[in-house]
C-alpha cells in the first residue's frame, strides 16, 4: 500500500498591497497635520478647569498679550488702538472668525478691556480666552 503524502496547506496573507495601504496612511497624516509653529510672545497662560476646545483650527486669529503689555498678531507688534483695523480685515475675510486671546496671567484687565472694545468695534465678537488645563 502506498503512503500518500499529506498535502500541506499554505496559508499566507497577501502582502503585496501593504505598501499601498501604508502610503495612504502617510498621505493622510501628511495632509492632516499642520506644522504650525506658534509665532507669539513669551507668556504664561492662566489655568482654568471648565475649558472647551476650539471648534476649528482654521477660523482662528490669535492675539498675544505679554505681561509687559505688548500685543502681537501674526508675529507683528501692534498698539491697542490698531487691533481694530487688523481684526476688521480678518473678520471681513472670514466671517466665522474666532479670536483667541493668549494673554499672560499677569496682564492687567485695563488692557484686556481695551482689546474687548477694539474687538467689539471690529465686529469680531466670538472670543476665546486661551488657558491651560489644571
Amino acid at each position: 500500500m502506498e503512503l500518500k503524502k499529506k498535502s500541506q496547506l499554505k496559508a499566507s496573507i497577501p502582502t503585496a498591497s501593504l505598501p499601498d495601504i501604508v502610503f495612504m496612511l502617510i498621505f493622510f497624516f501628511m495632509v492632516s497635520s499642520v506644522l504650525r509653529s506658534h509665532e507669539g510672545l513669551q507668556i504664561l497662560m492662566p489655568k482654568a478647569k471648565q475649558i472647551e476646545k476650539l471648534e476649528s483650527n482654521v477660523h482662528v486669529a490669535y492675539i498675544w498679550i505679554s505681561k509687559e503689555g505688548l500685543i502681537s498678531i501674526d508675529g507683528r507688534l501692534y498698539q491697542p488702538q490698531s487691533v481694530r483695523s487688523v481684526m476688521y480685515e480678518k473678520r471681513t475675510v472670514d466671517p466665522q472668525l474666532i479670536v483667541s486671546i493668549r494673554a499672560d496671567e499677569l496682564v492687567n484687565m485695563d488692557l484686556i478691556g481695551q482689546i474687548h472694545k477694539e474687538l467689539r468695534l471690529a465686529d469680531a465678537l466670538a472670543v476665546n480666552y486661551s488657558t491651560r488645563a489644571i
Binding site: 502582502t15 501593504l18 505598501p19 501604508v22 502610503f23 496612511l25 502617510i26 497624516f29 501628511m30 492632516s32 497635520s33 492662566p46 489655568k47 482654568a48 478647569k49 471648565q50 475649558i51 472647551e52 476646545k53 476650539l54 483650527n57 482662528v60 474666532i98 483667541s100 494673554a103 499672560d104 496671567e105 499677569l106 496682564v107 492687567n108 484687565m109 485695563d110 484686556i112 478691556g113 474687548h116 472694545k117 474687538l119 467689539r120 468695534l121 465686529d123 465678537l125 466670538a126 472670543v127 476665546n128 480666552y129 486661551s130 488657558t131 488645563a133
Partner: protein
Amino acid sequence: MGLVRKKVRIAEIPSGSLADIAFLLLIFFMVATTIDMDKGIGIVLPSAQDSEIEMSKKNITSILIDPRGTVLMDEKEVSIKDIKAKVEALQLQNPKMVFSVKAHPLTKYRTYIEVLDQLKQAKTRVISIAE
C-alpha cells in the same frame, strides 16, 4: 552548431522592504505631529451697535473684582472657589439670572479667568462682561 539562447535580463528593484520604509515614514509623521487643539474659555462679546438693554435689577447679579483679587458678589465678599456654589443656588432660584462681571483696571487677568471659570463650571447661561 547549437544556437545559444540569449539570456533575458530582468532588472527589478527589490520591493520587499518598501513596506518597512513606508512604515518608518508613517511612524515618523505620527510622532512628529502634534494635534494640539486650542483650549480655553469661550465668550461672545456684545456688538458695538447694541444699545443697552433694560433689565430688571432682580435678574442681575453683579460680580466685581478688585485689584487685590477680592470678589464682591452683590456687594458681599466671596472667595473665588465659593462662586460656583453661590451661582448655582442663584440660578435655581431664578433661571433668568444674568451675571455681570466687572473687573477693576488693575485686576490681574488670572483672577478674571478664575472667576469666569467658576461661572462656566456653574453652567451659567448668560455672562455679561461689563466695562
